[in-house]
Symmetry: C2
Subunit: 428 residues, 2 copies
């Protein structure tokens, strides 16, 4: 008989608590994270297989084209995109006249206002009135016009600031806007500079954007591959997963069957959320980095770490940096400068955002229901509630839940109203 | 115009990478853990609601009783439990005779062997031959008998070690076994001491167990509440969630429809795994702590942190500490002492475990298929593979997957064979 592991007489029990008893003080649950990932993958693999067995392969690339085109001889969306150049050129022309003094500031301001008002109303009118415009084509065109609107607004503001600065001869401040670097006002008022800004992945104009030294081919190709792969995945998952659930939700929604509606909502929440995540990566990482690399645009901060958001406010400040920067620079800070309080200015930003969300959904669907507007405005009390009562991981979980549940709720509402408006009328 | 946040001319862009680009060096994804939890809860809330809508409320407490009793006038399981006292008393009687020298060591060993051989074969024979014994009742009784078998084996071993030690007068080693503390061999050979060990939540006998100073009433009541709650939950979830999936799996299994079988397997994996987790908590935390508190049994280490297992071996060494301790003390180390290699001894432990798994499943089902045996023996190559090729979180994920997928696979196999054997024969 030897001592150590071979010892027969070793003490076998000693007084100690179970790990899961609070008295044990144990708190290492790192394995639980892996458990979550494994369960998530398995759950969704099962759902994917179940879906495939029930509905077969529904992915159909031809159908995607038909979403943009009702009539192959009428391309209203493409025509609108070509027309958009008119607004760009009007903005550039106006700035040139202002820089030469041919337009006085009030006249220039008026021309800009008219130009931008038409930019919002004219495509909306076309989308509403041209019968061959599809909802998807309409949303796409209005999205492009909205981006252009924000860009030209920034263009007008920055050029005005440049004139103000040269007027007051505030050389110290002028540095950042123009003259220490390559291009000085009004040397920036060229077609080339204007179109670089139009295509650059930012909404905030600067005379001298930071530029990367060269195009990294492997980076460009990887982003291109991601773009192509994820757009396929988006279309495929929508056709295979979203559409069947939405179609099967119509009956419970019509009947206002509450438990079945909740079940459909939760069932829709998962694919909707995954599609949104894929869309986020596709648009804010792959596509924007691809464009930036191609244009040697240096600033790649298109998003920050919104996945760690512990407050709703943090989420909205970090998930879409181009829009956040624009709102801060051209809307929030100007409001502050005019003496509005932070509270009012913040609400105004959410109001503007709510307006554009509604604009981009209601006009293409030709249906005004204010669900998107309400959803955005509901962020204000939600932000207050989460910021006031929830901290740390609970706040983070609340942000995730509002994302996962809020979006499909709005989607179901619009789809239901669209269905009732179009298909029930036909049935009657 | 002031500097700071109000400054119109501030630089708006600077050269930087996107966070998700590998070049950014960013790696804080803490929010993703919360995302996993939220998605998991939502996914399962939906599944729960869907299940309730499809099947209605299936929970039925009366049915539970019928699992144990076919015929209310025949209680074979209860009778077997009463009979088990005979084996306990035979073991105690044999040890007393040995301590007095009335039995020589070989005679005592032979009596113990016969006693324990009958302990395994007699209840198995009753379960196989008595028609009113249900599979659940049978499994329950065989489980109790297996636990008793392991306990009495340990009892025999420890008392033998005590005699060996008093023979060689190795006082230093004897300390831990008996004499420095309260009870000394053969003073431990009492009915009271024997039954304390039979009910204590351990399989390893010691002459002086560590004792907690007093019964904490609030701790006891909390564990009692958990026991009652989780047993309800286990029965409810089994009736509401497991049984419908198993029933709907019979057709695909009969037809050997591979994609539908995989879908059913994944569908079964989630409730099966959750039930196993609840069972783990119910048995190893609530019930064992309850018993220990009631008996003032000090050593509450019934499990270690198996959820962080990065190897299969670590999992088997840590999820069930009473069995692990028994195997180490009464099987693995004795084998090492007899000169077997670690490799052979470890394989022998898995072989023993596989035997008891098979015994506890096949006999109550009256059906010998070796699925449980194969499942346990498959742990050996799996342990080798995971230990050899997977590290850290990947190893942990592999352990989880083997748990989540492996169990329902075996469950489906047994249920399928049981169904084919009993219900298809009836249909023919």
């Amino acid at each position: 008989v030897t001592r150590g592991p071979m010892n027969k007489g070793e003490i076998c029990h000693k007084t100690q608590e179970s790990l899961l008893s609070s008295a044990s003080g144990y708190n290492n649950y790192r394995g639980i994270l892996n458990w979550c990932v494994v369960m998530l993958v398995l759950n969704n693999a099962r759902l994917f297989l179940e879906n495939l067995l029930r509905y077969g392969v529904l992915v159909d690339p031809i159908q995607v084209i038909s979403l943009f085109l009702h009539d192959p001889y009428s391309w209203p969306a493409a025509c609108l995109l070509i027309v958009s150049n008119v607004f760009i050129l009007v903005a550039l022309y106006t700035e040139r006249q202002l820089s030469k003094g041919s337009f006085s500031e009030p006249v220039g301001f008026l021309v800009h206002c008219i130009n931008m008002a038409i930019m919002l109303t004219f495509p909306a009118a076309v989308v509403l009135l041209v019968p061959s415009m599809t909802p998807v084509g309409g949303a796409f065109v209005l999205g492009i016009y909205t981006i252009l609107f924000l860009k030209l607004y920034s263009y007008k503001d920055v050029n005005m600031w440049c004139r103000e600065l040269s007027t007051v001869k505030a050389k110290k401040l002028a540095r950042s806007l123009s003259c220490d670097r390559k291009v000085c006002y009004p040397g920036n008022l060229t077609i080339r500079d204007m179109y670089y800004f139009v295509f650059a992945p930012t909404l905030c104009y600067e005379l001298n954007f930071p530029r990367s030294p060269k195009i990294r081919t492997s980076f460009l190709l990887r982003r291109l591959f991601e773009m192509l792969f994820f757009i396929q995945l988006l279309v495929g998952l929508t056709q295979q997963w979203m559409i069947p659930i939405i179609q099967s939700s119509m009956k419970p929604l019509e009947d206002m069957d509450l438990s079945r509606m909740t079940e459909r909502l939760l069932r829709l929440a998962v694919p909707n959320h995954l599609l949104w995540l894929i869309f986020f990566y596709w648009f804010f990482h792959s596509s924007m980095n691809f464009t930036a690399e191609l244009l040697r645009f240096g600033d790649r901060q298109f998003y920050k770490d919104w996945w760690n958001s512990e407050t709703v406010t943090y989420f909205w400040q970090n998930w879409n940096i181009p829009v956040h920067k624009w709102c801060l620079r051209h809307f929030y800070k100007p409001l502050l400068r005019r003496g509005f309080s932070k509270m009012v200015s913040q609400s105004a930003v959410f109001f503007l955002s709510a307006f554009f969300h509604e604009y981009l959904v209601s006009v293409p669907l030709r249906m005004f229901r204010l669900w998107a507007f309400t959803g955005m405005m509901a962020q204000l009390p939600l932000a207050w509630f989460v910021g006031r009562f929830l901290r740390g991981n609970y706040g983070n979980a609340a942000v995730w839940i509002s994302l996962i549940i809020g979006q499909p709720f709005a989607v179901l509402m619009y789809v239901h109203d669209y269905y009732v408006l179009h298909f029930r009328q036909e049935a009657d």
